[in-house]
């Protein structure tokens, strides 16, 4: 069948304004949206810009907005959409466009780095592993699925109102190390999450949770951290 795509185009170097261009490609319902973008670029218009690499939802390169919803182009199939109308493809919202569907992710990564996304273990390391119960390991089981694709942060309605908000992806990484029982900096991490641009701007829109390609319960995790912070503060007040 033939599928029509309406694609956001913008080269900040040569275009005054963004515009949309329409392409028609032959596709089957089992084709990925990424397969269609590749056909467009390889066969019709080599100027189209987008990132991709693994093509099966592991590397996190091809986060974009498809018919208004943030998603990985390699995880959405043509069959997921009504093809009687055109499929609209745009860059992730909120992010600055570098070219077409390619956005600037440097601030996004800096936000994640601000969470100190690495294990800090004070004290002597054992010869073998730091032990951890199966139950404790389960606490981080969901958060370690994050692939840094930025779909959640792009989808979060708070981001455009409060651009300094660290955003849902960074909070997933905050969660991942807050609840890693091998880490020694629980209090310091709580303080970081308690900053004005930490967990508090989250208004429970649940958009991040809805779009996450790895099904991480992001909003629930943020709410858990909010409760943890309150508990920690009230305990310290005693």
């Amino acid at each position: 069948m033939e599928v029509r795509f309406r694609i956001f185009r913008f080269d900040p170097e040569s275009d005054k304004e963004p515009y949309y261009r329409t392409y028609t490609v032959a596709a089957t319902p089992r084709d990925r949206i990424l397969d269609c973008l590749n056909r467009i670029k390889w066969e019709q218009d080599g100027t189209l810009g987008y990132r991709m690499s693994c093509a099966h939802g592991v590397c996190g390169s091809d986060g974009m907005r498809i018919n208004g919803v943030c998603a990985l182009a390699c995880q959405k199939l043509v069959g997921d959409y009504s093809t009687s109308e055109e499929i609209t493809v745009e860059p992730l919202p909120f992010f600055q466009v570098r070219k077409d569907l390619i956005v600037d992710i440097d601030d996004f990564l800096a936000g994640i780095e601000s969470m100190r996304p690495y294990l800090i273990h004070d004290g002597k390391l054992p010869e073998k592993e730091l032990t951890q119960t199966q139950q404790d390991h389960k606490k981080v089981q969901d958060s370690i699925r994050c692939i840094l694709c930025a779909c959640c942060t792009g989808a979060c309605p708070v981001m455009s109102e409060k651009p300094d908000y660290v955003g849902p992806a960074a909070l997933v990484w905050g969660y991942r190390y807050l609840y890693d029982t091998r880490d020694s900096r629980f209090s310091g991490r709580i303080e970081k999450l308690n900053e004005p641009n930490g967990v508090w701007p989250c208004m429970n829109y649940y958009e991040c949770t809805r779009v996450c390609p790895k099904n991480i319960p992001i909003t629930k995790s943020i709410n858990l951290m909010k409760r943890e912070i309150k508990k920690h503060i009230s305990e310290n007040d005693k």
């Binding site: 670029k41 990132r51 690499s53 693994c54 690495y118 692939i147």
Partner: protein, 573 residues
């Protein structure tokens, strides 16, 4: 612009990151990657990392070493296998201490599971040797190492595509890189370069590899006239999702999954009576294709079934959740109740840039090239020989990535800054200009598809002289055609039209090296199966292939295999 660092590491997957972390703080090191580091293909490794920790049952590094050597069909160098198996234990604890979230045993230790070719007591039965984090082991190891690199303040140049190495009088002077965001070409001056650019599965039509896996690092070496080693050994993983080639980890069988043909028969019992579905990948891939050829593919088609229906929802969710989601997304099937259609998919390259045990690149006389290093899938130590065992790759990356980093630090004092030749970037600029100016040639896509189809048909699991000759001829004529590729995009920002044309040039060179090496080796060993020479021939072929480009065309020479403990024996499982 000119950049200057003591050490440049090309590629920021696990090997590059691990090497960088070893150099950081001791010398000025930078990582250069054509993708953002967290997009690197190490992250797609699912199953785990092998180490004889004995957390679940008795195990010893000697057993692990034996399995690695036997898995390699005795082509792997045994001193390298010994380093790997011994150092594995330290390497896994190091990763755990850095924060890698390994699954746990009831006692809170790192959990371990079965995997293909890993056995107890020199081949008696499968052994639980594989440390894992669900089925995203590569991704969590890579993210852990990446954020460690960030913490250490290692300079990273993301989306810089390396085009040329600059070598003067046999010593490294630096490299040339194309900045994707601006289209600018830069000279990076350095005293040492480590190539860690991964594999090149994109030579083939069906592959588990990423679009970025185009073997750029090997091509840099090959174009300099330096040799590549054992290029004929290409691993096809038996369980790629039908049509797509997306990987379904061997851990699915490690956790109890089985392969079935159209009759519902667990056919691996016939091919590997002792360890059945946990035989090494080369054997299972041949078995799958044999079933298909003999008409026992599902509905007579070119795939078989992977049956995980008896594992239960809980095990699937806890240990195989990513692959369960791939099956749901791409096939609309539920692995808890449905059989999964699979066939072999090009997965890993045993061949690569010849290096010493410390990652130093060697020339055709086996002499090290000062300042030039390689690690990871792009390198050939040779550790994996004719066939790599699952979960030895992540291990290879951290063990030999670290060793390369150490060797660089130890030798940096002896490596001086080399004055680069005038305008070192000129050749790269000329190449780009030629492509941009070409208005009449064909687009890259047709040439790429032809190459991938030819290599899949004639140079994959089953090979013969006739097929290899025709593949080699076809690839050479495609290379001719590729000389006049034309592109649509003449813009400066993110011109992937241009970089894909450059990548295709690399892929074609490697396709030629693979086909020429495969045609030359008239025996069957590991992943290289010649239907016209179906026996392993140790008398004539227990040696490594070195392939290089000379003015007179492709030249092939050899290098001996290092055998220390295990004399070659017939390989049965």
């Amino acid at each position: 612009m000119v950049f200057r660092h003591d050490v440049l590491i090309v590629g920021a997957g696990i090997a590059g990151l691990r090497a960088a972390s070893e150099v950081a703080g001791r010398a000025d090191v930078a990582l250069i990657s054509k993708v953002y580091p967290t997009r690197s293909h190490s992250g797609a490794a699912q199953g785990g990392i092998a180490a004889a920790l004995q957390n679940e049952e008795p195990d010893f590094w000697e057993w692990h070493m034996y399995d690695t050597v036997k898995g390699s069909d005795y082509l792997g160098d045994q001193d390298a296998a010994e380093i790997l198996a011994k150092d594995a234990i330290r390497a896994v604890y190091e990763l755990e201490h850095m924060g890698v979230p390994f699954n746990r045993t009831p006692e809170g230790k790192i959990a371990q599971r079965f995997f293909g070719g890993h056995t107890r007591n020199f081949g008696q039965a499968p052994v639980k040797r594989i440390c894992y984090a669900a089925d995203r082991s590569g991704r969590v190891i890579m993210d852990t190492l990446y954020f460690d690199a960030v913490k250490k303040g290692i300079k990273i140049y993301p989306e810089f595509h390396v085009l040329d190495l600059v070598i003067k009088e046999g010593q490294v002077a630096g490299l040339i890189a194309y900045e994707l965001g601006t289209g600018e070409v830069h000279f990076f001056q350095s005293r040492a370069v480590l190539i860690a650019t991964g594999g090149y599965g994109k030579v083939y039509k069906v592959t588990s590899n990423a679009f970025a896996s185009t073997g750029d690092g090997l091509s840099l070496i090959y174009r300099l006239g330096l040799p590549l080693e054992d290029m004929e050994f290409v691993q096809f993983h038996p369980t790629g999702i039908e049509g797509l080639g997306v990987l379904i980890t061997e851990a699915a069988r490690g956790e109890g999954g089985v392969l079935r043909n159209r009759e519902g028969e667990r056919f691996m019992e016939r091919y590997a009576p002792v360890i059945k579905d946990l035989a090494p990948r080369d054997m299972v891939s041949r078995a799958v294709y044999t079933e298909i050829r003999e008409g026992r593919g599902i509905d007579g088609q070119d795939y078989v079934h992977l049956d995980l229906t008896h594992l239960g929802e809980e095990k699937l969710a806890e240990r195989l959740s990513d692959i369960s989601s791939f099956v749901r997304i791409y096939l609309g099937l539920n692995p808890a109740t449905d059989l999964i259609p699979v066939h072999p998919t090009c997965h890993y390259m045993m061949g690569g840039i010849p290096v010493t045990r410390d990652g130093n690149v060697t020339d055709v006389k086996n002499d090290p090239v000062p300042g030039l290093y390689a690690a990871g899938e792009c390198s050939c130590i040779s550790l994996h020989g004719a066939n790599r065992l699952g979960c030895n790759s992540l291990l290879d990356l951290v063990v030999f990535g670290r060793r390369a980093g150490q060797h660089i630090v130890e030798n940096l004092g002896r490596l001086s800054w080399v004055e680069p030749p005038p305008r070192p970037e000129q050749e790269a600029l000329d190449t780009i200009r030629r492509i941009e100016e070409n208005r009449t040639g064909e687009k890259a896509v047709g040439i790429r598809r032809s190459m991938q189809e030819i290599m899949m048909a004639d140079c994959s699991v089953f090979r013969s002289e006739q097929g290899l000759k025709s593949a080699l001829e076809a690839v050479r004529s495609l290379e001719q055609r590729a000389g006049s590729i034309s592109i649509d995009n003449r813009g400066k920002r993110y011109n992937t039209d241009l970089t894909e044309a450059l990548e295709l040039r690399n892929l074609l060179q490697l396709a030629e090296a693979i086909a020429a090496s495969a045609l030359n080796r008239t025996e069957s060993r590991g992943a290289h199966w010649r239907e016209d020479y179906p026996q392993r021939d140790d008398k004539q072929w227990l040696k490594h292939t070195l392939v290089q480009r000379t003015d007179a065309g492709v030249s092939i020479t050899y290098k001996p295999v290092t055998i220390t403990i295990f004399p070659p024996k017939p390989r049965a499982y």
